[in-house]
């Protein structure tokens, strides 16, 4: 999958005015609209009132099982992939559009593929606009790519900063009370830092199954986890 070079923040910005956005959108939807017209519109419609044509309607494709549009006769191969659990997301649409047969060997989609990663990203950004919006349906598929905390040099630069630990911890306080009381969510204050770090990594690596904590830990770098462990260890 495409990765643009990480935005290098030489120094972590101290002034709000200089702050820059972290995540990247999927791509350029306006450019994607043109690509759709050129590459897909011959067989597919998208948008309100789109109908099945040679290919199925692509409205709402993000988050949908493969082969599940009512009234469209799919190939056996596509129907089987849907039953196996293939769901259309950024991660699955990208290889399908790159080379349909590589993902679904017997697909009837007679399309040679779009080799350029930037083209695909822009096209997918356009398609994404016609699926559920997370503001209304929070479980809807993401609309941007997550920054990888372990690769972000800006985060490495502020490691061990206690102010940073305090800021990060404010996100935890919504559920884990700072005074250490446990009313349905475990207390995380005054743990030995080592235990804390191990627990967080178990969520980050999805060894512990809890989805909220997998998500919280998954967006933290190793250094951030260490900072939090130190911060919570000293709370009383």
């Amino acid at each position: 999958m495409r990765r643009r070079p990480l935005r290098l923040l030489a120094t972590i910005t101290l002034a709000a005015a200089a702050q820059s956005a972290a995540a990247e959108g999927i791509g350029d939807a306006a450019r994607g609209a043109d690509l759709f017209k050129g590459q897909c519109a011959g067989c597919h419609q998208i948008g309100n009132g789109a109908a099945n044509r040679v290919g199925p309607r692509l409205t709402g494709v993000f988050g949908r099982r493969a082969g599940r549009v009512d009234g469209f006769a799919y190939s056996k191969a596509m129907a089987r992939m849907g039953s196996d659990g293939l769901t259309w997301t950024l991660e699955t649409l990208d290889p399908y559009v790159a080379n349909p047969r590589a993902l679904v060997s017997g697909t009837r989609m007679n399309y040679r593929g779009l080799p350029d990663a930037t083209d695909r990203a822009d096209l997918l950004a356009y398609l994404r606009d016609f699926s559920d919006q997370p503001g209304n349906i929070p479980e809807a598929e993401p609309t941007a790519r997550k920054t990888d905390p372990d690769l972000d040099p800006a985060i490495l630069a502020i490691q061990g900063d206690p102010d940073y630990g305090a800021y990060l911890s404010s996100e935890c306080a919504t559920c884990h009370q700072a005074d250490g009381s446990d009313q349905g969510i475990p207390s995380i204050t005054r743990w030995p830092p080592q235990d804390f770090v191990v627990a967080m990594h178990a969520y980050k690596q999805k060894l512990r199954p809890h989805p909220v904590m997998q998500m919280m830990a998954g967006r933290l770098s190793n250094d951030e986890i260490a900072a939090l462990a130190a911060y919570f260890a000293m709370l009383d």
């Binding site: 910005t13 929070p138 920054t147 559920c175």
Partner: protein, 419 residues
């Protein structure tokens, strides 16, 4: 002009900002006024005061002496939670926050002042608006806010919640409860459907032949598969969801005769819960920071209003992108805003914004589900970068654990807001 410069030294404050404000003579501490003491505003006020150690002058303006949480108000409707457990005062909010119980009636952005109904004028260097929602006029034909005593919305918790519950309890055996569900976007996407579950639970015990009708302008709603599974499992045959395809969309109500009109057919109902279309709390529009949509566009990295960088808009009132309008979201946004404001006024460190949200819904006693996501700012909006949702068919132990977790969250967020 005689100006005592001594007071400005060392505050890190732009002198221009101070000069622009009228009542500043002789005062050195930068002033932040927060309007709305709910999920966004109370959190912001507390974090601003707590993290700046008295270096900021923080005033919280809240119309009501007591805040009733919308979150868990559906559990009250279901008979699972006492009304007073939803109520929180401001006495523990902490030193450093001056609470003024009054209604803000005007904002003069040029002069940087807020006027209160009582006549008081508050000057600010930074203004935080977190006034929640108001209802859109004409959203449901036949209904205006004046009809809320007959057809309650119960979408701002308080007396409306109690009224709706009393009406459900007074329903005749076998009667009909109708909900006019709201169009997108509105606060708490799963809220109306959790409410249906809780009302069904209440009726199942005392009025098992009653019927529930949801008239919905939306083709789809959050956690739909989970709600539909639960309605079949616990409240079989009681709940009827009518999508726009079957006339649920363009419904008219007649408060005088307690009728709803679906595709031209008038139907008598016993209780009608009208949840209208929504817009930002009125003061946001009065401050001139909303756009044609009725919401206030903000900078996704800071929550600053696109219209004015000295004004921050949090929670339901903001148009920020992918975050659902929820108490959790408002609380999360408040932390980013207060960090940014401290950075601007006091020169403290500012880190990259991180946001998250989780919303739990109770389907039946001890059976809860959740949906959540994490978010990052892009230049255009706050974007969802990862999400999860409970699965259908989960076992009872997991659902119970999810419910217990929601109790922990309620305790955590209310402590985070009110101290």
């Amino acid at each position: 002009m005689i100006l005592n410069r001594r007071h400005f030294i060392g505050t890190g404050l732009a002198t221009g900002a101070v000069l622009a404000a009228p009542t500043v003579w002789g005062q050195a501490k930068p002033r932040v006024v927060v309007i709305g003491g709910g999920a966004g505003g109370a959190t912001a006020a507390r974090y601003l005061a707590k993290d700046s150690d008295g270096a900021l002058n923080v005033t919280l303006v809240e119309a009501n002496p007591v805040y009733t949480t919308c979150f868990f108000s559906n559990l009250h409707l279901g008979g699972i939670r006492a009304f007073d457990s939803l109520q929180h005062g401001y006495d523990r909010i902490g030193a450093g926050v001056t609470v003024v119980h009054d209604l803000a009636t005007a904002v003069d952005r040029a002069a940087r002042t807020v006027t209160l109904r009582g006549g008081q004028v508050l000057a600010y260097d930074r203004l935080v608006l977190s006034p929640g929602i108001d209802f859109k006029d004409g959203s449901v034909p036949g209904w205006t806010v004046e009809h809320a005593e007959v057809m309650p919305h119960a979408y701002k918790a308080g007396p409306q919640t109690q009224l709706l519950k009393a009406m459900v309890q007074a329903m005749p055996q076998g009667g009909t409860f109708a909900m006019i569900a709201p169009p997108n976007p509105y606060r708490c996407p799963p809220g109306p459907y959790e409410r249906i579950s809780m009302i069904a639970h209440l009726l199942k015990a005392g009025n098992p032949t009653a019927k529930i009708l949801i008239l919905d302008p939306k083709e789809k709603f959050s956690k739909q598969a989970l709600f539909e599974e639960a309605w079949g499992k616990y409240y079989d045959g009681m709940v009827d969801w009518i999508s726009p395809e079957f006339g649920g969309g363009a419904v008219e109500v007649r408060p005088d005769t307690m009728e709803v009109v679906i595709e031209g057919q008038a139907q008598k109902v016993d209780v009608c819960n009208v949840i209208p279309g929504q817009i930002a709390g009125k003061i946001a529009a009065l401050a001139g920071v909303t756009d044609d949509s009725g919401w206030a566009p903000v900078d996704p990295a800071t929550m600053q209003a696109r219209a004015d960088a000295t004004v921050y808009v949090l929670g339901d009132s903001s148009a920020q992108g992918d975050m659902p309008k929820s108490g959790f979201s408002a609380n999360s946004q408040a932390k980013v805003a207060s960090m940014t404001i401290r950075g601007e006024l006091l020169g403290s460190k500012v880190f990259a914004a991180k946001y998250s949200n989780t919303c739990w819904s109770l389907l039946a006693p001890d059976d809860a589900v959740k949906v959540g996501a994490s978010y990052e700012p892009t230049p255009e909006k706050i974007a969802s970068v990862e999400s999860f949702i409970s699965a259908t068919g989960e076992d009872a132990a997991l659902r119970k654990a999810t419910y217990d977790e929601s109790l922990g969250w309620y305790a955590g967020i209310t402590a985070d807001m009110f101290g």
